[in-house]
């Protein structure tokens, strides 16, 4: 081959010239950067670290700390500029290592340290503190500040979780920018000025944001600390592994950190397709529940109406006996399994294999509070696709309450003018103020709302502007999920190119359904149970008495089943009805994989040993199978994974190597074809003096993870019925007073509150709140539920 030929080949192989690439020089080395990129980001990639405090790659630059000064060659010689504000340019010459730059870095650091208390030995941040680290790497080594430092009362609580030490604060604007720009809860701000500038909340208005924990993570000093971790460990004592949060189904990447075999902290990891390093407070702080004293440690078996501790082999044998006697007496159809959506893919798969081996299809990972799994048959969208779509149609839940980090991504899409949000709901949500259009509708009327809104001229032209993603979930537990499915079908009929992002909330619900835990329906199963047709019910991390919307049906079902086996981390109300309770391993105590709402499979990591004798769910399934003479052919969590990816078609793209090479996760394959449009059921007329019931979840509720995390437990707002202020006036009851809510079957007494985000004619009740009894008002077989209110 001649040299000319080589040249020709290499020319052909060269990628086309990127029009957005600029070539610049940093410290004499040539660096290719993207147009619009900041010098500091380009330098990070080229390996020239520039010290910084206020700069954060996920927030807009402010250039306040002045630490990232560099020299840029200009027409009048080298100019000192802040690299976090200056975009790259073609031919730009940047130096980060000249004596002038070094002098500036030392000077600014000395100034930052001037008023910073050197209480590093007792500071939570000491050891992982950007100020400490950069004082060593870029600082002068010695302070000449001999004056008295600034003094403030320290620390002051700025919310129920976060404490602020203003003496340590270096006023970098990260937390305040986060609160305003990312979270949309601008509840902390700079007050006063000059040397007295300080971060504070407004008087009598705490920093009660669902995202407040992020400010603690991004604080470059120890000014912000969170109660759950405060003084618990030193950073150098912490061991960490990367994992995925399973609190909800967004699947944020986190590090799980522990010391002395106790979980102490989760920190957000910047996963570009998912959480951008942000976490919600519920996900961040519910590690407390893992270490809770209330955790189950030993298998329990009920004797004479009382639980007594037993060992695993007796408990499993007793369980096997219950199952086989049920099979013997009533056939495979008399065994049912509920749950499995809170644990790993492997757990769900093992239980679904066992169910299939037993021959029962009475299996559901959801508890009647989600949507039929046909929702996954539509063309699927990812979170990134949703957050970059030109139009996002939201059908269903309040994302801020149920999937907070997805709310942040969509809020960002709207705030940065990438997307317009068209929202349908029976109540205004946290996203409504960022929505381009909010169409309120009474429960059951979403199809009509969709048909009228999506055919408006302005909306039609907006929908034609680019990609459309439908975010769909269960917005109202007091109406039939069929309405949402019909509305989705209507959207897909009007916007055939749209993709769907189903947002079912429970941690691994998509993985569980894809692994085969969705062959039945919880409503069916519970109805059969109530009718005495189920002899043995296995609850795999499921608490129907708390989570199934229709409390009466759940209660009748659990009384109707003679033998209940519960596998759970805590003694729930449903577990207490069981004959046998098996302690399950919790998050952070087991390896495996999880699937988030967009079908992204990522790895979970075990960090601490399991509590007591508790075992992961899959292991219980396998051992139970053994005792029932069924060979599942697996002996380890790896075996379960391998068998799952080779037999479950959705899991086909997943393998160990792919998971290892992409920590952000690998997407499931799309399975199924678009479902047949469901017919729209007719909604019964609402009686003049009744309110149509809207029941949805708040972030903090009476769920086990929240209830057993002391820092979060008190944040649940409590049970109440919320009316539009005008409706409340009409009712004549003062806000905060108790009223009698009369449903179709029974009545309950509840506190009533005014809330302008509730539509007129509807009554909104948050589900599963401490002391709440809204489930009594819901009839799962009714299309919609109405309630009458009476003044007491």
């Amino acid at each position: 081959m001649t040299s000319t030929e080589t040249n020709v080949t290499s020319d052909e192989n060269q990628p086309p010239v990127d029009p957005n690439a600029v070539t610049m020089s940093i410290n004499g080395r040539s660096v290719v950067a993207r147009k619009g990129e900041l010098i500091i980001a380009a330098a990070d990639r080229s390996g020239d670290y520039i010290p910084r405090f206020c700069y954060h790659p996920r927030m807009s630059p402010v250039g306040m700390c002045r630490q990232c000064l560099v020299e840029v060659e200009g027409p009048r010689g080298p100019m000192m500029v802040v690299s976090c504000m200056t975009p790259v340019a073609d031919g730009q010459v940047v130096r980060t290592d000249t004596p002038q730059v070094k002098r500036a870095h030392e000077g600014i650091l000395e100034l930052l340290l001037a008023n910073h208390p050197l209480d590093c030995p007792v500071c939570d941040k000491g050891g992982e503190c950007p100020l400490q680290d950069q004082a060593f790497s870029h600082g002068p080594g010695e302070s000449r500040f001999v004056e008295e430092k600034r003094h403030y009362e320290k620390p002051i609580p700025i919310s129920d979780i976060v404490l602020l030490d203003r003496e340590r604060c270096i006023l970098c604007d990260r937390c305040t920018r986060f609160a305003d720009e990312v979270a949309g809860d601008a509840l902390i701000h700079f007050t006063s000025r000059g040397n007295n500038t300080q971060v504070l909340t407004f008087p009598d208005e705490p920093f009660s944001s669902y995202f407040s924990g992020n400010t603690v993570q991004i604080c470059p000093v120890g000014a912000l600390t969170a109660k759950p971790y405060r003084f618990k460990a030193r950073p150098w004592d912490l061991e960490k592994v990367e994992s995925t949060c399973t609190t909800c189904s967004v699947g944020c990447r986190i590090t799980v950190e522990s010391s002395r075999d106790e979980l102490l902290r989760y920190q957000g990891v910047d996963s570009d397709p998912v959480n951008w390093s942000w976490l919600c407070d519920k996900g961040r702080f519910n590690f407390e529940a893992v270490a809770s004293d209330a955790r189950l440690e030993q298998p329990l078996i009920k004797r004479d109406g009382k639980f007594v501790e037993t060992d695993w082999s007796s408990a499993l044998r007793a369980t096997a006996e219950l199952v086989s006697s049920a099979l013997r007496d009533g056939g495979a159809g008399s065994v049912a399994i509920l749950g499995g959506a809170r644990s790993t893919n492997e757990d769900a798969y093992a239980w679904s294999r066992l169910a299939r081996a037993l021959g029962t299809s009475n299996v559901d990972a959801q508890l009647g509070d989600g949507l039929p799994s046909t929702v996954y048959a539509y063309p699927q969208a990812t979170i990134d696709e949703a957050a970059n779509a030109s139009t996002v149609i939201v059908l269903g839940p309040d994302l801020k309450e149920e999937l907070p980090v997805l709310h942040l991504r969509l809020r960002d899409a709207s705030e940065k003018k990438r997307s317009k949000i068209v929202e349908f709901g029976s109540k205004e949500s946290g996203l409504t103020r960022y929505a381009w259009k909010h169409t309120g509708h009474e429960p059951g009327q979403q199809v009509a709302a969709v048909r009228s809104t999506l055919t408006e001229t302005a909306v039609v032209s907006q929908l034609g502007k680019g990609s459309v993603v439908v975010v769909v979930g269960r917005g109202n537990l007091a109406e039939s999920p069929e309405f949402t499915m019909s509305a989705l079908a209507a959207v897909m009929e009007l916007v055939p190119n749209a993709k769907v992002l189903p947002v079912l909330r429970r941690g691994n619900v998509r993985g569980a359904l894809s692994a085969g835990l969705g062959s039945g329906s919880a409503v069916d199963i519970l109805e059969r149970a109530a009718a005495g047709k189920i002899n043995c019910l296995v609850l795999v991390g499921a608490d129907p008495l708390a989570d199934f919307p229709d409390a009466d049906l759940a209660r009748r079902a659990l009384t109707g089943v003679p033998n209940i086996v519960s596998l759970d981390t805590f003694m729930t109300t449903s577990s207490s009805q069981a004959q046998i309770v098996l302690p399950a391993a919790a998050f952070g105590e087991k390896d495996g994989t999880t699937t988030n709402l967009e079908g992204r499979v990522s790895q979970l990591s075990r960090k601490v040993t399991t509590r007591g004798t508790s075992r992961p769910d899959w292991m219980v399934a396998v051992e139970l199978a053994d005792l029932l003479d069924v060979d599942l052919g697996v002996g380890s969590v790896h075996d379960v994974f391998e068998q799952m990816v080779s037999t479950q078609s959705a899991f086909r793209p997943i393998d160990r190597a792919a998971l290892k090479s992409s920590p952000d996760g690998v997407l499931l394959a799309h399975v199924g074809s678009a479902p047949i449009a469901s017919p729209v059921p007719d909604v019964p007329e609402r009686a003049g003096f009744s309110y149509r019931l809207v029941v949805s979840r708040k972030l903090y509720d009476a769920g086990q993870n929240v209830a057993n995390s002391p820092s979060l437990a008190l944040l649940a707002p409590g049970a109440a019925i919320y009316l539009h202020p005008l409706d409340l006036d009409r009712l004549g009851a003062p806000a905060g007073s108790n009223v009698k809510a009369i449903g179709a079957r029974t009545s309950v007494v509840m506190r009533v509150e005014a809330d302008a985000t509730v539509h007129r004619g509807t009554a909104w009740v948050p589900f599963n709140q401490p002391g709440g009894k809204v489930g009594e008002l819901i009839d799962a077989s009714a299309l919609v539920n109405d309630v009458r209110l009476e003044n007491l």
Partner: protein
């Protein structure tokens, strides 16, 4: 006519008067007097011509901005991007530079002249609305401008179809809340928008592209705009005939300190020297008690100081800059030989440290640090190490050589203006300017105040 009691020492002499011609009248701030003395004639002339024609007239006259930077107004108006509407005029009446009180007099004594200037600027530069921002502390100015604006609205000079033409513009008054940094144009825009008065980050360097509410915005000083009515009536040629080619027209100078007659004077730009101003019979008539002049600040509290050696410099930016200072906002502060230099420096530095907005580190931390070292020295508790420490802190605020004047006595040669800075705006360097000037020019006075101490080296080599 009697002279107005609030303008001590104001003497017009027979010098040309462009902006102060009505100051001699008691009722100068009423529309009646304004109209009787040629008021709104400039606007009438302007409306008879095309906007670009008026713009060219202002450009040809090279009206220098009087806020401090001295940027030609006509050029500034031309920086707005084409085809972006609406665009705004913001009048910077937040005069708060120490020693400066010329705009206050213009607003108190001739508010109609300012209003007419605003209207001419809006007409020429195609600006759809005018926001008149007046410093919070200037109660009389606020009242007078508000009264004048009401009169002008009633008489049809402001509002819809001004003077029967198709030109309409509204003027909105806004009172500041009392922060020095709001005199910085981007901080003023932030304040006007209802935010904390903190400077915006540059670039964009001029709000002309992205200003108030993200729209193209021209920010002009009160005095700059007050020049326009006269300019339109008399023409650019008459304007440039006064003063020099690079600094045409007149400018207002506020003199304070140790002179016999402190006050505001309208001087001829470019030719009048500091000696004329401080010693001239028309002006300050010399130093109080015929004392010796020790130093003076030529352009507001943030300007580096001059000594008697620089007295013969004219009010000409191209000469004052290379000599190591700036003309700034036109405030001259005079110190005679009795002045306690460290205390004088402390007074100025304390002001800037107090007025720092707290946004960027060097100004927030450095300014206060300077103030605290200085007050220690003034209290007699300083050590000789503190003197170098002052310069070291200054180096962290403004790296490199800071401008200062030449001195044959000290063998210093001037370092020209401007300086480099690590801060977002000029407040930080302003806190350092008086310290640096005082220490450079009068170091012996500091040395006399501090205790000599042997410093035990903590690290590094012992020299």
């Amino acid at each position: 006519m009697t002279s107005y009691p609030h303008a001590p020492g104001f003497i017009t002499g027979d010098r040309p008067q462009i902006v102060t011609s009505r100051f001699q009248y008691d009722d100068s701030f009423f529309l009646e007097r304004y109209l009787a003395t040629g008021g709104y004639q400039g606007l009438k002339k302007a409306l008879g011509r095309t906007p670009s024609d008026v713009h060219d007239e202002v450009k040809n006259a090279t009206v220098l901005g009087r806020g401090g930077a001295g940027f030609p107004a006509g050029t500034k108006w031309g920086l707005t991007p084409q085809g972006k509407w609406p665009r705004y005029l913001v009048v910077n009446g937040d005069e708060s530079e120490p020693g400066t009180y010329k705009d206050r007099l213009l607003m108190e004594r001739d508010p109609h002249q300012l209003i007419e200037g605003c209207l001419i600027a809006c007409y020429a530069a195609g600006l759809s609305q005018c926001f008149l921002y007046i410093r919070g502390e200037m109660a009389v100015a606020q009242e007078r401008v508000a009264t004048a604006l009401n009169e002008a609205y009633a008489a049809g000079y402001v509002g819809k179809n001004i003077m029967g033409s198709r030109f309409s513009v509204d003027i909105v008054l806004h009172w500041g809340a009392g922060a020095y940094v709001v005199g910085e144009e981007t901080a003023l825009i932030e304040s006007l928008e209802g935010n904390r008065g903190m400077p915006r980050l540059k670039p964009p360097y001029f709000p002309a592209a992205i200003g108030l509410y993200g729209q193209p915005t021209i920010v002009n000083n009160v005095e700059t705009l007050a020049n326009l009515p006269w300019l339109l009536v008399n023409g650019a040629e008459a304007y440039t005939a006064i003063g020099t080619k690079t600094s045409p027209g007149t400018r207002m100078v506020a003199v304070s300190g140790h002179v016999k007659r402190p006050g505001v004077y309208e001087i001829i730009n470019g030719t009048t020297t500091f000696r004329d101003l401080l010693y001239g019979d028309d002006f300050c008539q010399g130093i109080r008690n015929d004392n010796q002049l020790k130093a003076f600040v030529p352009g507001g509290g943030s300007a580096p100081w001059f000594t008697p050696e620089q007295l013969d410099l004219p009010f000409e930016a191209s000469q004052v800059g290379p000599a190591g200072s700036m003309l700034g906002s036109g405030a001259v502060m005079v110190m005679d030989h009795t002045t306690d230099i460290p205390r004088a420096a402390l007074t100025l530095t304390r002001f800037y440290a107090h007025e720092s907005c707290g946004k960027c580190t060097p100004c927030r931390e450095g300014g206060t640090w300077l103030e605290r070292i200085l007050s220690r020295i003034v209290d007699g508790k300083g050590t000789d190490a503190d003197l170098d420490q002052l310069l070291e802190v200054g180096e962290s605020i403004c790296p490199g050589a800071f401008p200062h004047a030449s001195s044959t006595e000290l063998g210093l040669s001037a370092v020209p203006f401007p300086y480099r800075m690590n801060t977002i705006c000029f407040v930080g360097p302003s806190a350092y300017a008086p310290v640096h000037s005082a220490l450079t020019l009068f170091r012996s006075e500091f040395e006399a105040r501090v205790t000599k101490r042997t410093r035990i080296p903590v690290s590094g080599s012992v020299s």
